[in-house]
Amino acid sequence: MTQAEIKLCSLLLQEHFGEIVEKVGVHLIRTGSQPLRAIAHDTGTSLDQVKKALCVLIQHNLVVYHVHKRGVVEYEAQCHRVLRMLRYPRYIYTTKTLYSDTGELIVEELLLNGKMTMSDVVKKVADRLTETMEDGKTMDYAEVSSTFVRLADTHFVQRCPFAPITDNSDTGPPPPAPTLVINEKDMYLVPKLSLIGKGKRRLSDEDASGEPKAKRLKHTDNKESPHPKAGQTWHSDKHQATVNAAPELRNKSSITTSLQRSLPVGYNISKQVLDQYLTLLADDPLEFIGKSGDSGGGMFVINLHKALASLATATLESVIQERFGSRCARIFRLVLQKKHLEQKQVEDFAMIPAKEAKDMLYKMLSENFISLQEIPKTPDHAPSRTFYLYTVNVLSAARMLLHRCYKSVANLIERRQFETKENKRLLEKSQRVEAILASMQATGAEEVQLQEIEEMITAPERQQLETLKRNVNKLDASEIQVDETIFLLESYIESTMKRQ
């Protein structure tokens, strides 16, 4: 793990679970697999606290354990899972758009608690919904359960591995740690929950712990840990309507006739128009959708890797444009298109004067967006007799950009914490005033008294609070946006690595 990732993990753990868990977690990320005693000794925390911290981390699926021979249990942290914590609000929002408030609350409860049994989740969510509904109405457990089942079907929620129940309870000492097994087929099975009505309920016999791993891509297999892609709809500005209208297209291939039937009625697209749209999509140079045959009216395939690659390239281009200017962006796009170019050729093709072109190329080179490829003319690689070609290696540039993103998120979080700490006194004061106001209003105080209390915060202080709030909001919003870029780049890198 790079230093930037470790720093980011440390900040995230600290915000979510406190310093002790952060210390333990970061130590595990840095040093890999460790037994309990070693953790306690190296971090200098007491065994009791390390135990609690490990329980919390395992509960939230951030640490896994393995039993080695001689009964030693070693704990290993999963850095990428820690980094996912940045994306929790996005997961909740996506679920809200797809499954409305019930789904949103289910995912929120699961994210806050790591693992939960289905019955617990359903009960908590139903109670929360009942609170927000009008008096007299209660939320039906069945509805919450059905939403849960739908979430499990679309792989937003996943079952945790559990220890198998063994009959022989007296064959020597039980193992130090249960070996967790999970049958892949069972991962998305939901137990038959018989929750009667609203008030009374019976727990089902089988307990299943649901664990959220929001996954949108149905065709990825479940063998390795599922990729928590928060179901981001792939927005393609040109084809937004068609993509949203055809959910079947997300599977690898589909048939045109069945596609037409599945379109929502309101679209009123006739067969010819549909054919035209599909041909248009398939012929598009970006190659998101390809035609793989003619059976059944036309077989179409979505090529997700190409889509990710072009999105990643677009991100790189826009970064260059915003950092170095549009001329640099032109050069970058040129080199990307022509793969390898010499210094002279760059000047000619881009129609930019030599001096400036040189300057821009070196600026991009120094930031590692562009790399140099040497092609020797003679076997002795003499510098005067080698070609130096500029090229763009998208994968390595994406990795470099991802690393920078991690650094920037870490910086944003630190700055936000700094700002909050600076104004801690003021914030506490305003909280106290609000509490007093609320209690006074509840007991029915007069206007005059309320005004007096409000004046406890002076005008410049109010100004300061406003500025603070604005800054914190801006920093938070930036974090969320950088996280989107991180998601994109990570998906691209992962998809490329899988193909290789």
């Binding site: 915000e15 009791d48 490990l54 329980c55 005067s384």
Partner: protein, 220 residues
């Protein structure tokens, strides 16, 4: 012969034109120090995305940040100096009991601790505080006797620690760890010399009963 070809003049080992500089041209300055920490940028950053969705996600994020602080998973660091006012400003959190079926046994605190308030055991120095029960008192006595050089008891305790190293969680070990860390390590170093076997406490299932039993047996 030793490369005087240029007769004292600067000569590049490669074709300078290939990298784009013409001969005799002024080369860019050499960098003498690392780039500034906050360099001036030529272009202003693009404004952030704004919209209903983004605002909702922002609100969710801030709410989440506040909520996680109130969850039982958020473990606060114990302060060295206990402030009087903190007692009245304490946020009461729900207790959380992890599912022990999926956790390794060594992570389990002693059964006695579960009944009492587990947070009390956090404060390091006061490890032997009011939350511990009879076993702790007995062990305290053992430690005192140890210091006085009572051979049997100290051996027994040492071997307890040894036996519970990897596999079993013996109650004695944990409390001692909490209480006096320094003394711990010294004692453990000494325990190599005793002749009790490591696997003496194989079946450390029932912590409460076991520890009591051990006390009894130790008096042989």
């Amino acid at each position: 012969m030793a490369g005087n070809k240029g007769r004292g003049r600067a000569a590049y080992t490669f074709n300078i034109e290939a990298v784009g500089f013409s001969r005799g041209e002024k080369l860019p300055d050499v960098a003498l120090k690392p780039p500034p920490l906050f360099p001036d940028v030529d272009y202003k950053p693009v404004p952030l995305k704004a919209g209903e969705g983004e605002e909702y996600v922002l609100a969710l994020k801030q709410e989440l940040r506040e909520t996680v602080k109130r969850m039982p998973y958020f473990i606060e660091t114990p302060e060295e100096i206990e402030r009087y006012s903190k007692r009245y400003m304490k946020v009461y959190k729900d207790e959380w009991m992890p599912d022990w079926r999926i956790l390794p046994r060594e992570l389990m605190p002693k059964k006695k601790c579960k009944k009492a308030n587990p947070k009390a055991s956090k404060t390091k120095g006061v490890g032997k505080g009011n939350s511990l029960t009879n076993t702790a008192d007995v062990l305290k006595k053992i430690e005192e006797l140890e210091k006085r050089g009572d051979g049997d008891k100290s051996d027994e305790e040492n071997e307890e620690k040894e036996g519970s190293k990897e596999n079993n969680k013996d109650s004695g070990e944990d409390e001692d760890e909490d209480a006096a860390d320094q003394e711990e390590y010294d004692e453990e170093e000494q325990e190599e010399e005793n002749d009790y076997i490591n696997s003496y406490f194989e079946d450390g299932d029932d912590f409460g009963a076991n520890s009591d039993d051990n006390m009894d047996e130790a008096t042989y």
